[in-house]
Subunit: 369 residues, 2 copies
């Protein structure tokens, strides 16, 4: 397997490089002793060669919280960066029961049959190290899980939503370096997880189902801000008419809430992930939006903005951690928060006290305290 | 005028303390030489005595960007803090042309006729020091501007949205200390200004108008997340039927987008700010939601969360400024951002370089560099 430089390969019908994908389609897992340590070189070369075993270990390395692993992970990422960015990044959200697993299994299979390589990742803020994740049941993607042109990975577990999202984002980059030309990141509609998905996707798809009886399942207000394609699933058999009605009501509601005008119009579709009916049309809509982003020159600026926002979030997180690691600053912050919340101190004054404590701590460091 | 302690005074029909307001209703501007400098004591006492001239100067002090003024402003705020919090904080947004000025003039007059004291502030991110603010035309609130029980102040000008929002928020606290029991903060629906309003209000009202012909004026997606009461204005004469139709369509759309269930239901009303028809009903809805927040014990936690969020934003802003003030850190950040956006360096690595530069700069400070 050669390391093909970014941008080579014929353009596909979808504007996605299929050539690199096809070239790597035959890569098999290289037999290795399970406990052999890999060097940074080994990781980088193995991922770029689309070696599935190395790919899995690289993502495990990224998920590891051991400081030594974190350092190696960042160096591996640095090596892989030039080979990233060449995928269509799809975010997928929906409440439990909307049929995400079945949908991904159906669409993913169709995509691989057309020569694509799809990686499926997840952000699940409810996941716990000892099992019990809403999205953990990858067995429900039975076909895709056994498909050599697909790579399915459960959510990283534990920690904050921010930490999980970062690891999934880094895993996405590794998958791109391994030649996957479509990366799908799924989440449940919990808390800010949908914002996290939107921050790393090119197109956001929300899966919905008609409610029982005459009730419509509502769309969380925050999601409306983020979604590009709204899909009403389970449009099969007796449910088909109900699904079409739900789609019509969503369309009318969206027109009212957004006003007329094509820009940032939300597409509303129906499908049956069970039968496959309408599933490909969902991808056509996603692909069409991605193609528009590229044609209008908007894709790169959009991704750069996402990266800029990611950098600043990481910086603020790191500064917060710095504050908490330094005893004087940490104690000043706790006092400051209490003073503000109890209405004793104006926030601007409180912040200045924290900054002064931070400066004092750091100056003390130079004198070996 | 005595400084009445928080919480005293009979509870009004609206759960808002009217007693303090009535007690101060007669306060008149104390004649002073225009250029006399006020001490912190003078500022604090004057505001608490509801002296309008001192109130205006206190807010000008808050808006000043001179470091000496900033220091005094914070000390004045610290003195006034115990007397704040005793108002109903209403956020009002709407596109230009929706009739906000007429609405505020109408509602504000009705409120003062019922014994309330209302302060009207503004967040206008388009305001410039040398005139030209969308919200600057306070002459359109002709009745309220001459009403002794009302205080109308234009938006602070210049700077970032965050800076403007902070000054308006601090001005709100000063108005509360001066005994105003209703504070209305208005903004145009530009950028993140609606989020800024929601972050400091108890109830958010959005003013809308039916579009020309059959088009409905859409609601910005982000606003839907924040609004409590949606009001379709200009329901007078020939427009009345159109306004009612628009209100019905918004109601149906909101039900679809949110699903059934009373919680965080958006109220949709019509009114004519010109004739006054329906305006009081808007306030009744606002008051009712405020009363529910208080009765359920949610108001204080909501405000504490707003303050907590404000504190953290200020802290991050201050840390950003610290980074930019220190030459090594500033240059490391510029390099880091470029490296990330050009895909050369993973963000986590880039952030670490910035942190190291910050530490180096601060340690250098202790050695007198």
């Amino acid at each position: 397997m050669t390391n093909r430089a970014p941008g080579e390969g014929e353009a596909s019908r979808f504007g996605i490089s299929v050539a690199k994908a096809r070239a790597c389609a035959g890569a098999s897992a290289t037999a290795r002793p399970a406990r052999m340590n890999l060097s940074i070189d080994d990781f980088a070369r193995g991922v770029l060669a689309a070696d599935r075993a190395v790919l899995g270990r690289a993502i495990s390395l990224i998920e590891s919280t051991l400081p030594a692993d974190e350092a190696i992970a960042q160096q591996v990422l640095e090596r892989l960066l030039p080979s990233t960015g060449h995928s269509l990044r799809i975010g997928l959200t929906g409440t439990p029961g909307a049929g995400k697993s079945t949908f991904i299994d159906s669409l993913g299979t169709m995509l691989t049959e057309r020569g694509h390589r799809i990686a499926v990742l997840a952000i699940d803020p409810t996941s716990r190290v000892s099992g019990g994740s809403i999205l953990g049941d990858r067995t429900r993607m039975s076909r895709l899980s056994n498909n050599p042109h697909a790579f399915v990975r459960p959510s990283p577990s534990g920690g904050t939503l921010g930490g999980i999202a970062r690891k999934t984002r880094e895993a996405m980059l590794v998958c791109e370096a391994a030649g996957f030309d479509i990366v799908l990141i799924e989440t449940v509609g919990v808390g800010q997880s949908e914002t996290a998905i939107a921050d790393m996707s090119d197109v956001v798809v929300a899966l919905s189902i008609p409610g029982a009886g005459d009730e419509l399942q509502g769309i969380k207000r925050g999601l409306l801000e983020l979604v590009d394609v709204l899909v009403v699933n389970k449009a099969e058999g007796d449910n088909a008419a109900k699904a079409r009605t739900a789609a019509a009501e969503y369309t009318a509601a969206l027109r009212v809430m957004r006003g007329e005008g094509d820009r940032s119009r939300v597409a509303v579709l129906t499908c049956s992930a069970l039968t496959g009916d309408g599933v490909w049309q969902v991808f056509e809509e996603v692909r069409s939006r991605y193609a528009s982003l590229r044609a209008s020159g908007s894709l790169e600026p959009r991704r750069r903005n996402q990266d800029r926002h990611w950098l600043r979030s990481l910086l603020h997180e790191r500064l917060d951690r710095l504050l908490l690691d330094l005893p004087g600053a940490r104690s000043a912050f706790t006092d400051a928060e209490a003073a503000v919340l109890e209405g004793r101190t104006p926030p601007v004054v409180a912040v200045e006290r924290v900054i002064n404590a931070l400066r004092t701590d750091l100056r003390g460091e130079s004198r070996g305290y």
